[in-house]
């Protein structure tokens, strides 16, 4: 009913704006997270061994870290502005649950990073070696703790726990901070995101070092950097796979529609096969064009069940099963989406009646409707859907993004093994293919990283808060032209920032480290 053209345009533009700014913001973040750790390791080696070449390496990579940090810093604030302007219903609805982690993040980021980043850059020869080293480690800790709070807030949207909705204020109120912080979704989201950021940083260091190898410059520095980054990258990519596995298991339980969309799985069952690759295509025999038929698919038998539950015969629901209702592997019965939509509408009606009953001081009616509301609150968001098919995300985008992310992850594993092997044998520069592959892996690591976010965020559509608030309810009723205008202004600002970063960074890379 409310998905008319005007609203859809507003919702779509608001989503595009948020997606564009989030994508740009996340171009700066992962390098900060991972390079900070590599800097701390390099400086630790220098402090322990006194080897001057590690000091030079630390200073060179610190310079690139500084450029990325300076250009990227505060770009996330644009997202926060958008919450207040474009997503005001959402901002109010999520209440202090989103506000508290972001406030903690802001304070920690400000104090830890602004203090220790200054010591890290200005403190050479001004503070003791040990204090400088501690400062570098604290920059790493600060950056990663900042990421933790942002990701906890994001994880809560994917799996809302530890809160109670206050029907009088229309806000969710936090009642268990630890449940939010330690929810399996928060843990897997944080660990998977930071380990993938470490992988990206390792690709960056191996790639840039390979450029020196190809130019036959600063060879000793490049070899040392490649050795360290390959070991670091190999550990990181293995951890990324491990945490990705935990994340997949969590998604299977908490966001089964996303999991089905990742696979383009229409009909589930026990012992479901995993689609390695395929082409999602339209099929008129399917009930909605949002569901796709998988053409030219290559399958691995029972693997999807294993990925979801570490059990080759586990039950995995497909899109059609979720639409019709199903009983999960854990034995929980989920009604059809038609039923959940009816429950949601009941909750919305009860909320309205409850508020009026409180106003009229009709306590009996207030108590009974409050109970009806509470009984149906878990399906609250379904009450806003016009059709069960609205609950299906964009299958091809999620399907392909997942495969690009995983495929590139495998390529990075191969790169780190080859780079480590040939750098150790001091034959890295003899096989030109490896340095060129390493160079190509720098942009590819960013693509993999963005694909991961597309899977996470597009895959959970239509929800901004899983099962509770769809995107079209979260949006503020403002003129879509205004959103379009600010979209282009943000796009221009971020593009200028990105060009500035690349220009300054390329210039500093060309200058190279001070000496070998």
């Amino acid at each position: 009913m409310f998905l008319d053209l005007t609203t859809t345009t507003l919702v779509e533009w608001s989503r595009w704006q948020f997606a564009m700014t989030a994508i740009y913001h996340y171009m700066f973040v992962p390098l900060t997270l991972g390079l900070a750790l590599m800097l701390a390791i390099m400086e630790t080696i220098w402090v322990k061994t006194g080897d001057q070449s590690w000091l030079n390496a630390t200073k060179f990579w610190m310079k690139l870290f500084g450029i990325n940090f300076a250009i990227g810093v505060a770009t996330g604030l644009i997202l926060e502005f958008q919450f207040g302007t474009n997503w005001s219903n959402y901002s109010w609805f999520v209440g202090d649950i989103f506000g508290a982690p972001l406030a903690i993040e802001g304070i920690i980021a400000f104090f830890l990073e602004s203090t220790f980043v200054a010591v890290m850059f200005f403190g050479w020869n001004k503070v003791s070696k040990r204090f400088h080293l501690i400062s570098t480690w604290m920059v790493f800790v600060g950056a990663n703790i900042s990421a933790l709070w942002i990701l906890v807030a994001n994880a809560w949207m994917q799996n809302p726990v530890g809160m109670e909705f206050n029907p009088l204020t229309a806000r969710n109120e936090m009642d268990d901070f630890w449940a939010i912080l330690f929810s399996p979704t928060a843990i897997s989201k944080f660990t998977h995101t930071v380990t993938s950021a470490y992988t990206l940083s390792a690709c960056f260091v191996v790639g840039v070092s390979s450029w020196f190898i190809l130019k036959k410059r600063n060879l000793e520095f490049a070899r040392k950097s490649i050795m360290l980054a390959s070991v670091f990258g190999l550990i990181s990519i293995l951890l990324t796979m491990y945490t990705g596995d935990s994340s997949a298991q969590d998604v299977t339980k908490t966001q089964p529609m996303k999991f089905a969309a990742m696979e383009g799985l229409n009909e589930g069952g026990n012992g479901v096969e995993f689609t390695v690759i395929g082409i999602p295509t339209n099929d008129p025999s399917l009930p909605t064009p949002k569901m796709k038929k998988m053409e030219y698919a290559i399958h691995v038998p029972k693997m999807l069940s294993f990925l979801g539950y570490h059990d080759f015969n586990a039950y995995i629901p497909g899109i059609q099963n979720i639409l019709d209702g199903y009983t999960s592997q854990e034995g929980i019965t989920y009604p059809s989406l038609e039923q959940r939509m009816a429950n949601g509408r009941t909750a919305i009606d009860a909320l309205k009646t409850y508020k009026q009953a409180v106003k009229d001081e009709n306590h009996t009616l207030a108590d009974s409707t409050l109970q009806v509301f509470k009984d149906n609150y878990s399906d609250f968001g379904y009450g806003y859907l016009s059709s069960p098919y609205d609950a299906i995300p964009h299958v091809p985008l999620v399907f392909y993004s997942f495969r690009i992310m995983v495929g590139l992850g495998m390529l990075f594993t191969l790169l780190f093994i080859l780079a480590l092997w040939y750098a150790k044998k001091r034959k890295f520069e003899k096989f030109k293919l490896i340095p060129y592959l390493a160079l190509a892996c720098v942009p590819l690591a960013y693509i993999a990283s963005q694909c991961g976010w597309i899977v996470a965020e597009v895959g959970r559509q239509p929800w901004v808060v899983q099962d509770l608030m769809p995107t079209n309810v979260a949006v503020t009723k403002i003129a879509s032209n205004w959103v379009i205008t600010t979209f282009w202004m943000f796009a221009i600002l971020f593009t200028i920032l990105l060009i500035a970063e690349l220009k300054i960074m390329f210039h500093q890379i060309k200058k190279g480290p001070e000496k070998d």
């Binding site: 604030l77 005001s88 219903n89 919305i348 909320l351």
Partner: protein, 69 residues
């Protein structure tokens, strides 16, 4: 201690290389655009700019939640 901290920042900024100065210029311009143009002019907080009290904001969102379907 305070003097040492002051010197750290003072000398750090004074002896900053050209690329560092360029970065600071970018940071300052960026923050000015973000706070003076976007935050104040283009991206005000909708609820704060339209409603004064928490109750008014709550009532607005309540209406949004209960009248959309």
């Amino acid at each position: 201690m305070l003097r040492k901290t002051w010197n750290l920042y003072y000398d750090g900024f004074r002896n900053m290389p050209q690329w560092g100065r360029t970065l600071w210029l970018i940071i300052i311009i960026k923050l000015c655009i973000m706070f003076l143009v976007f935050k104040l002019w283009l991206m005000p907080n909708y609820l704060n700019s339209h409603y004064n009290s928490a109750e008014e904001k709550s009532n607005h969102v309540f209406e949004e939640l209960t009248t959309k379907p």
